[in-house]
């Protein structure tokens, strides 16, 4: 396999950063996230995963869509905002790579293509690093993700101890690999296979859930939920967004931003009616969306097993415990 010595990785990053914005896993102000290489913070390749997912690379937390100017009754200007630029996401883990595939399904398929996402996606190169160890909260391999690699990444890298194995998987990936030729060596080495310690049996879940809409299990698991947005904002696959306007007199702009189905006003309609008035309905909607509805619509789970929600929920709402419980209960019997 072609490899790059870990001692030379900074040289590789310097080359990559020449023509693109290079995003690497870093600790910034105590929080691990993907941040521009060279910005304030410490690089972290040894951590299993970042706390903040890389979804804001393609789907920013807040994004300007278009700006306008008004004079009397006339709209004198309407300008679409496009700040997409070449980006390289370096060190993305297979779980997050799978989340990018889910996002691609949402934003690029089914009748409409979201241009704001597409412009960034076309200019993004993904360099995936397979995991050699897992966190106690990781369960990606139960959700159909291989912790050691992801075939959709442009470049696949493997942690071989003193060096990284490196393989291009797409044309765009080959362009990147070509740039790093002078740093590469040939080395024999097989990446160590790793599997998650936390396992769940996710088979048959969508079919079972489709019969459980009125099941009392929802009340039981939703009681301790505090209704914050932590799970949705840390989740690499949550994509719900809101669109609002910021207006300053005669000009302003329309933006979109992350929204959360856990907030009570999310489903509130004009006139005040709310079809999901309590935590019960909202947690039910969230879990059904992750494990059943998305599967029905796009043919894959919307949970990639990254474990961030399990690690950070203030009251330990745990989707894996929920899946375990699902296996135990009969679809039509009380909990």
């Amino acid at each position: 396999m072609k490899t790059i010595a870990k001692s030379r990785i900074n040289e590789a990053l310097a080359i990559l950063a020449k023509e693109s914005k290079l995003l690497v896993p870093m600790k910034v102000n105590g929080i691990s996230k993907y941040a521009p290489w060279g910005s304030e913070g410490t690089i972290q390749f040894e951590e299993v995963n970042t706390l903040l997912p890389p979804k804001d690379t393609l789907f920013p937390h807040t994004e300007k869509m278009y700006s306008y100017k008004i004079a009397n009754q006339e709209i004198t200007e309407l300008n679409i905002h496009d700040d997409s630029a070449p980006q390289i996401l370096f060190g993305v883990r297979p779980c997050d790579m799978q989340s990018i595939k889910c996002m691609d399904d949402v934003f690029l398929t089914k009748s409409y293509v979201d241009d704001f996402y597409k412009n960034k996606r076309e200019k993004l190169i993904t360099i995936c690093i397979g995991c050699t160890k897992t966190a106690p909260t990781c369960f990606c391999d139960s959700m159909g993700v291989d912790p050691s690699r992801h075939e959709a990444a442009d470049v696949q890298m493997y942690d071989l101890g003193d060096s990284y194995g490196i393989e291009a998987q797409t044309e765009a990936g080959q362009t990147v690999v070509n740039k790093l030729q002078e740093l590469m060596e040939d080395q024999a080495g097989d990446p160590t296979a790793v599997s998650c310690t936390l396992k769940v049996d996710a088979s048959g879940i969508p079919a079972k859930l489709s019969t459980m809409f009125e099941h009392p299990i929802w009340k039981e698991i939703s009681r301790k939920c505090i209704g914050c947005g932590t799970c949705t904002y840390l989740c690499p696959t949550c994509y719900c967004f809101d669109m609002e306007t910021t207006n300053n007199g005669n000009e302003g702009y329309r933006f979109r931003c992350w929204d959360s189905c856990m907030f009570s006003e999310y489903s509130r309609m004009a006139g005040g009616h709310n079809p999901r008035p309590s935590k019960n309905e909202r947690i039910r909607n969230r879990f059904l969306h992750k494990l059943e509805f998305f599967n029905e619509r796009y043919g894959k789970n919307l949970c990639v097993g990254c474990g961030r929600c399990i690690a950070k929920c203030p009251v330990n709402v745990d989707i894996t415990l929920f899946i375990d419980k699902l296996k135990e209960v009969a679809a039509d019997e009380p909990v």
């Binding site: 869509m65 009754q73 709209i75 009748s111 409409y112 241009d115 189905c261 309609m269 079809p275």
Partner: protein, 277 residues
């Protein structure tokens, strides 16, 4: 620059409001066309448009009718955006994008007798289909329209209800109000009860039903009693929509997006969706 040539589905085109018709005290119909006097898009009956006052925001509204060069949206005053829309004057420039939604299943309706049941503002989305049926009269059989509102003052599209539509071939228009006095020219009573009085024959009919949830619920009960099947009844759902293109998640019910897979659904399809209403 006044015209935006956008293919970005989240960015509106610019239109001018040509005319505003006051249907009732809280419902107005807005006629819009582009700066060069054209339709911004050509919707099929039942499709929607995202209509925006740029300084305030956007809202999804049914296209209730279209001419050769303009579109009509009927908007009820019930929130921040619609309050602001009700204040504007003809000549105002707005944003509009569309058409969105699946529209009415014309293939299902062709050759059938049509029974339209509407309540309040619910007539707005259905009106586009009624007009289509009259424009393509040979493609449809008998047409019955049952429509009700709270009072005489709350009836929408009075010109259509009392003058235009009753004149059409093989068409009956039945109007009712929830309450009225002895001078009231039409029937007095709630729509579901009125429906049962009229007692339509389910044979060869397609029912298009749209109105407040409570009206839909009771009308459905009545229709089932009278022998109509779930496949014969079509309705159009109302839900808060933001992106209009099936991505933001706001209007999703189960695995469907009301803005993309709907808003028109048959009762049979609705019964397969999670019971969130």
């Amino acid at each position: 620059m006044s015209q935006c040539k956008c293919e970005n589905p989240l960015v509106p085109s610019v239109v001018t409001v040509l005319k505003i018709v006051e249907e009732t005290s809280d419902i107005k119909t807005f006629h819009v066309s582009t700066k060069d006097g054209k339709k911004p898009f050509t919707p099929m009956p039942g499709q929607l448009g995202m209509f925006s006052l740029l300084t305030v925001g956007e809202g999804m509204f049914s296209v209730t009718a279209q001419g050769e060069n303009h579109l009509e949206f009927a908007i009820k005053k019930c929130g921040m955006l619609t309050d602001a829309l009700h204040e504007i004057k003809p000549g105002q420039m707005m944003g509009v994008r569309g058409p969105y939604g699946n529209g009415f299943p014309l293939d299902l309706c062709k050759g059938k007798d049509m029974l339209f049941i509407g309540g309040g503002i619910g007539l707005a989305p259905v009106r586009s289909l009624i007009k289509y049926c009259f424009e393509q009269r040979e493609d449809f059989g008998k047409i019955d329209i049952i429509y009700g509102a709270r009072s005489m003052n709350d009836l929408c599209f009075k010109e259509d209800l009392f003058e235009n539509w009753p004149k059409e071939r093989d068409t009956n228009v039945h109007v009712t109000v929830d309450s009225g006095d002895e001078n009231c020219p039409c029937h007095i009573g709630f729509v579901p009860a009125f429906l049962e009085e009229i007692n339509p024959n389910p044979q060869g009919k397609i029912v298009v039903l749209c109105g407040p949830p409570i009206m839909i619920k009771f009308c459905l009960q009545s229709l089932t009693k009278m022998g109509f099947t779930d496949e014969q009844v079509i309705t159009t759902l109302e839900m808060r929509m933001k992106c209009g293109i099936g991505k933001c998640g706001r209007c999703s019910i189960g695995s469907k997006y009301v803005c993309l897979d709907g808003p028109v659904f048959t009762m049979a399809e609705l019964k397969h969706l999670p019971n969130e209403f």
